[in-house]
Symmetry: C2
Subunit: 320 residues, 2 copies
Amino acid sequence: MHNPTELQKIIEQAIPKLAYPAQPANLYEPIKYIMSLGGKRIRPVMVLMAAELFTDEVTKALDVALAIETFHNFTLVHDDIMDNAPLRRGKQTVHEKWGVNNAILSGDVMMVESNKHLSKVDVNVLKPVLDTFNQTAQGVCEGQQLDMEFETRDDVSIEEYLEMIRLKTAVLLGGAMKLGAIVGGADDKNAALLYEFGENLGVAFQLQDDILDVYGDPEKFGKQVGGDIIANKKTFLHLNAKALINAEETDILLGEHENTSNKVKAVTLLYNNYGIKELANTKMEQYLAKAYQALDDLVIAENRKTNLRELAQQIMVRES
Amino acid sequence: MHNPTELQKIIEQAIPKLAYPAQPANLYEPIKYIMSLGGKRIRPVMVLMAAELFTDEVTKALDVALAIETFHNFTLVHDDIMDNAPLRRGKQTVHEKWGVNNAILSGDVMMVESNKHLSKVDVNVLKPVLDTFNQTAQGVCEGQQLDMEFETRDDVSIEEYLEMIRLKTAVLLGGAMKLGAIVGGADDKNAALLYEFGENLGVAFQLQDDILDVYGDPEKFGKQVGGDIIANKKTFLHLNAKALINAEETDILLGEHENTSNKVKAVTLLYNNYGIKELANTKMEQYLAKAYQALDDLVIAENRKTNLRELAQQIMVRES
């Protein structure tokens, strides 16, 4: 078995070897560009890791891992258009560099590339692989749609928010685990448990991201601390606070401040007063517990589960 | 065997029965909307027709036919964004009605829906079906990319133009025929010949469209006669004329006229003087001949080929 770092290396070595047609260059260059921007390759590593629980031939799962990573990057290209984002991992987004139309079309062809990778799996698992992938892809699109709609809605409930992050972020982690399990040769029960592990870990991860936006160490957190507060983003913290606070405090939460730093301070104080961080931590721990429960229930030798626990810990790095 | 009209009816009856999730409504309503706008359903009819050459159970090919029609409509949604088109079949385009971001995402999920339809075919043909579909989808994306790039290029050659329309329009007709053949149970040789038939018919169809833009009967042609001339579109006629005319005539071809009707008249006169219509007709007939040759070479009973000949004639309706 390979440890997470070794699996990441397998992915990093495979990506530059992916062959795309030379022409039309402007269709394929953006794919090479976005795929080379890096990131932790968590999703394809999850595919390989899940497969390796059931087979020693981890390369059997490489095509599916590349399909998942290509699909994930496709969603980044299209999401960045929709969010009008100038930067991705510190570099120009595809639509900034090549224009919106080109970015739409390169994204489209990335979806085709994902499906080409998938179609290479053993024909005896092709149908369940396709079904799992398509269900995953559909969920991710639904999550992005809900996320966009929430921006202009004032009545988003906490349950709706949890469902949105489940779809937008977590089903892809669940799908990655399940796909790896299927190509590795898992039975239906183990494949379903690995899906549960990935999905619950995904929701926990997103809740952690919501918490770190407010309480993260600016040195360690990759984004601007307080960015969600400044943007009035409807995070788990925001929605919980909104449900508890009075009218005056609502003005603080939703109002615009000339000094954004003062707004971050004021809203953080509000969160502190209402124990919002603890609420979010509790919810996050619930999802994590469900993820670990799925691991416990997994019918494989205990010593094979070490990598998955290590991965979960890597993903859920706590700020003290 | 069913005639083309009966096959079209099978498609028209199947489309309203397609079930999409109720939520998020704004993700799925655009799919129902664009799929219900009609059209001649040529591509899914081609799938069924090709299948019926080899099987009496035409419904075996229905999922693939719906995959092709869904994919085609996905390309319309995204192409209309890129072309900034306000209308499609006389109705608002999806991005006009729901906004660009929504249209991008609904298009994306249509691609997933296409793949879901595909995954329902018999597992013994699943792999060749996926390979053919993915190759087709990739070609269509490449064609759209070239079409966009040609708008700002001054050095497009006639060969490049033919390759662009082959990719953008013709490979989907070829792919539809081949997919139908595969699910119907054709051998590789017949499937390849049906691809040839569809692709060559597709190029001939696009060349006819170029000709009709200038020489079509305004009563019968669905679009504004002379539209390509006014837009300086690099059609087969435009590119052939450009290669033959002198500098003064080039000003007529490429210049802007205050009176668009005068420009159409002047460029048509130019085309007439250089026999451009005949050039285009000759090229179109060459592709048609290749399409019919593929039909002749098809190893099935001659009386089963009648429907395909009828379809080709329906598509290639001549203006006298």
